[in-house]
Symmetry: C2
Subunit: 243 residues, 2 copies
DNA sequence: TTAATAGTGTCTTTCAGACAATATTAT
DNA sequence: ATAATATTGTCTGAAAGACACTATTAA
């Protein structure tokens, strides 16, 4: 019987078939009232010329670190909400070899024009409804990311991650409306948000001007300290997809 | 410029540092009124002799398939609810090499005595509060799995996956109580479960006898067709961990 | 001035939770 | 008979959603 040290010294990693692990990022932001996802155009085979989610191979780093690094390389963003989404590993999803992709979901508040990264000839924020025909299984990953994002708005204060440091209740409502794809009742939303403990806190300030087409100067708020919304903000009319 | 076929023909997977991907499974069941997790005792280095979550290397198969195969090898179970939990990939979590573990969560209704698997000298259902000091980062994985399971009972009919084909409302309540670790009001729970569309449906049958210490013969139900509970069954008194 | 917006008030319905009541059954 | 359990009823308060109303401001 070998002991642990001898076992590790003899261990031959190359005896196993080669696999690789990447991170791919579903980075979402809101631009011009539309929900947008960050896409790159692939410069290399496979899928050269096709649009894809930004990502790359994991190095000697933690998974979260790899995701943050890749996102930073593409956008320069560093203060974003990042969370692991799901891992995709069907054989054949990458023609080169067995590649497992750990997908991450990111929420970006403001919109610096994305910079072209090393393995991407271009990067751009694309409205999600136009983000189709992506490389690999990225259509599926994007769809899963959108599902997750929509669900998390219900029970977490994540919507504030789309807003700036200070925001109005109307801006917050627009975020919900854009992500969920349906208008929300302004009055009820306003009262609801203020009634959830820790969701937002007042800055005491007021915006310098009212809405585009009139209205009083709204009050400004910042994100509160809640990690969960209680009670939650449930999406209206979801009885259909319950079964 | 090479075309895609030439590129793939020249591609050298071995040029990248060796990594491996495993699946590890948090399989939960209820035994003797306690929430239990399936553990194996490791026969090989590293962590020989330590208890660990069942799992193994992913072969030429999909991730979900690998998880189902591993669980089946350990328990013989095949009709279980299996869902991907999270992927763990910190450098150094496995002393052999860079190993990424895709963790799965499984809910097993009945309790066949687990069989010893190929890379395990023993497997057993262990009450979760006694499942500590596991190999690798499996303590963390188990904790994440329990969090997920407790949360999913709130808004999905997953509790029925712990029950048999037919069950009473009391048995369902016991499942919630055991997983959440707190007693639930029998009367309110009863009315609530029956009021959620598609959660359970009546079999028209009645149990052959009442409770252990008396009481009328309860009616029998089976799982309904709902995929989400609406409205949800929220855990009582969770205002504390909202921040 | 006009129209849009911010913010508040009110009402109805639904639901959670506390509690009670009744019927049924194991011991 | 006693105690436990299943099931239903009642009440209160929280909360969602519909709707109305006032005040404020851009154009």
């Amino acid at each position: 019987m070998v002991n642990e040290r001898e076992f590790l010294a003899d261990y031959q990693p190359a005896a196993y078939p080669a696999v690789a692990v990447t991170v791919d990022i579903v980075a979402l932001t809101i631009r011009d009232g539309r929900l947008c996802v960050l896409l790159v155009e692939r410069a290399e085979h496979p899928y050269a010329g096709r649009r894809a989610l930004p990502g790359g191979f994991v190095r000697e780093e933690a998974l979260d670190g790899a995701a943050l690094r890749e996102l930073n390389e593409e956008t320069g963003l560093t203060r974003v909400h990042l969370e692991q989404l799901k891992t995709y590993g069907d054989p054949g999803r990458d023609p080169r070899m067995r590649v497992f992709s750990v997908a991450y979901l990111a929420f970006a508040p403001l919109l610096p024009e994305p910079e072209a990264g090393s393995d991407a000839s271009g990067a751009a924020w694309v409205p999600v409804e136009q983000a189709t025909g992506l490389a690999f299984d990225h259509d599926t990953i994007l769809a899963d990311g959108l599902d997750r994002a929509r669900a998390k708005l219900e029970y977490t204060p994540l919507a504030t991650a789309f807003a700036g440091d200070e925001f109005t209740i109307s801006e917050l409502r627009q975020i919900y409306a854009v992500v969920w794809g349906e208008e929300l009742h302004a009055g009820n939303f306003h009262r609801k948000v203020l009634s959830v403990p820790g969701f937002v806190e007042s800055t005491g300030q007021t915006a310098t001007r009212g809405g585009e087409r009139g209205g009083p100067k709204p009050k400004l708020y910042r994100a509160g300290d809640a990690k969960l919304l209680h009670p939650a903000l449930l999406r209206p009319g979801r009885e259909e997809d319950v079964r």
